[in-house]
């Protein structure tokens, strides 16, 4: 019964592969009972609470091939187990993709960024407190949602794409990568595939148990950021209750190419408003080619929240999202 507050890591095996092949083989053979371990900042709570009980952890941070930031033909590639601190402080990222550097620097707290990885921040599980408490809700494989009800505590929950589950994407770096048109590199023992950042995440309508397209045996090994939006004008803002150790109530990431006051191209994404980072294509379409102005910014804001369906306690997210998008376009 859930009558105990757990605090100690239960028995779990640990594998520390040092080369890719070995890690992929382990992921493949262990399948569902192998837990992919990055920095572990999202992992250990689950395991200590005994709300997730894998038989083994496969530590990915010993694999050098999946670490670091390097230039590629078109842009840069960031290893999935590169720490958020390294990304935030990396000159290359700072100079060309400041959006990601800023987003990474807003995550949790310095110590968490020191060990927390990009892959971990992207793949972290939903933060809905009912789910985290270990209740058997839809996302946990049950048949009920405790948050989406007249009395449910859903202040932090979704405005869009609710489908039985109303949890939101908790990541700060995800919207930044969507805005930068990044590509996820996913490897498995049977090969490698690449997925556009915005297609990498899954809403509850398509898979209520998993937040990404990763299948058993697959590992996110790298993220590629094309040069298309390098050195563009960037805007990232995260609004949370606390300025440290908090998840966004809403965050916004924008990459804008402006010349002569005209928005030539733009990519926009918001986090914490849907189960996936929400790309605002309608807004992008409406402002592309337009003269940048206060009015345009306001219109963008209004367009951004079009179709929002607030729950009982998260109505405030509508004006908040609207304002953040407005600020992003206003610059």
């Amino acid at each position: 019964m859930v009558a105990t507050s757990h605090d100690v890591m239960p028995d779990i095996e640990l594998y520390q592969p040092t080369d890719e092949a070995n890690a992929l083989a382990l992921a493949n053979t262990l399948g569902a009972d192998g837990w992919l371990l990055g920095g572990g900042q999202d992992t250990f709570g689950w395991l200590k609470d005994r709300n997730k009980s894998p038989a083994a952890m496969i530590e990915l941070t010993q694999i050098d091939a999946w670490k670091g930031i390097k230039e590629i033909d078109d842009g840069i590639e960031i290893g999935a187990v590169t720490t958020l601190t390294e990304i935030a402080n990396n000159p290359l990222v700072q100079s060309r993709y400041g959006l990601l550097a800023t987003a990474a620097s807003k995550v949790a707290s310095p110590q968490i960024r020191n060990v927390g990885t990009l892959g971990g921040n992207l793949n972290q599980d939903a933060r809905c407190w009912y789910y985290r408490r270990g209740l058997d809700c839809y996302r946990a494989g049950g048949n009920i949602c405790y948050a989406d009800s007249p009395e449910g505590l859903n202040r932090e929950h979704a405005l869009f794409g609710q489908s039985r589950c109303v949890a939101v994407s908790p990541s700060d770096t995800a919207p930044a990568l969507v805005a930068l048109d990044a590509t996820m590199v996913v490897s498995s023992s049977s090969g490698q595939r690449t997925i556009a950042a915005q297609d990498y995440f899954l809403g509850p309508d398509r898979d209520i148990r998993n937040m990404t397209v990763l299948n058993e045996g697959e590992i996110l090994t790298a993220v590629r950021i094309p040069s298309s939006f390098a050195n563009a004008e960037f805007y990232f803002e995260k609004v949370a209750d606390r300025n440290v150790w908090d998840f966004a109530l809403v965050n916004v990431a924008a990459a804008i190419k402006v010349s002569g006051g005209v928005i030539e191209d733009v990519r926009l994404a918001c986090g914490a408003v849907e189960c996936v980072p929400r790309r605002l294509e309608a807004v992008e379409g409406a402002i592309r080619g337009q003269q940048r102005s206060e009015e345009l910014a306001s219109r963008a804001g209004e367009l951004a929240v079009d179709g929002a369906r607030a729950l009982n306690y998260n109505n405030f997210k509508v004006p908040l999202m609207q304002n953040l998008v407005k600020r992003a376009i206003r610059g």
Binding site: M9, Q16, L30, Q111
Partner: protein
Amino acid sequence: MNPKLTRRRFIKGVIASGAAVTTTTMWYVANGQDRPAGYVERLIRINVNGQVRNVDVAPQETLASTLRYKLGLTGTKLGCNRGECGACTVLVDGTATYACSVLTHSVKTGMIETVEGLESANGDLHPVQQAFVESLSPQCGYCTPGQVMAAVALLRTNPNPTREEARQGMSGNLCRCGSYDSYLDGVMRAAEIG
């Protein structure tokens, strides 16, 4: 039959019976294979405060557990055991890290520094400790070891921080007494006397 379903159910059964450890072992035995490379051995040597210690560490053991309960280094405090307070902050290769949220096996090759390792051989306090005493930075003191270690890490990378830089650098440490102002006084003083 759908392999996903059957495997999950098999695993559930095993875990429910509280024998998670044997699960993967069983899997490999059942498949007539040896454990794959990368499986950790429990007996390890770790370098804590410059001393190499032999210690028997369970695969899932956190560094905080090893330090407190295996090595008796109780200066490292557990305020939440969830990476939400920073009282357990230690240095791994100079990097401030929550000992409650990192596996000992993950850092076994690193140089681990705890609050017990800061004093010089002749017993003099580390400049940060000295400054914290002079500024009366601690109140209840429970978060202090973590604050000390965070400050040490900060000043190594940035020996002369502005108060704002110090504030940012220390921000991964919670103090319920609200002594932040006094800790920042301490960090600034440490930068002077350091």
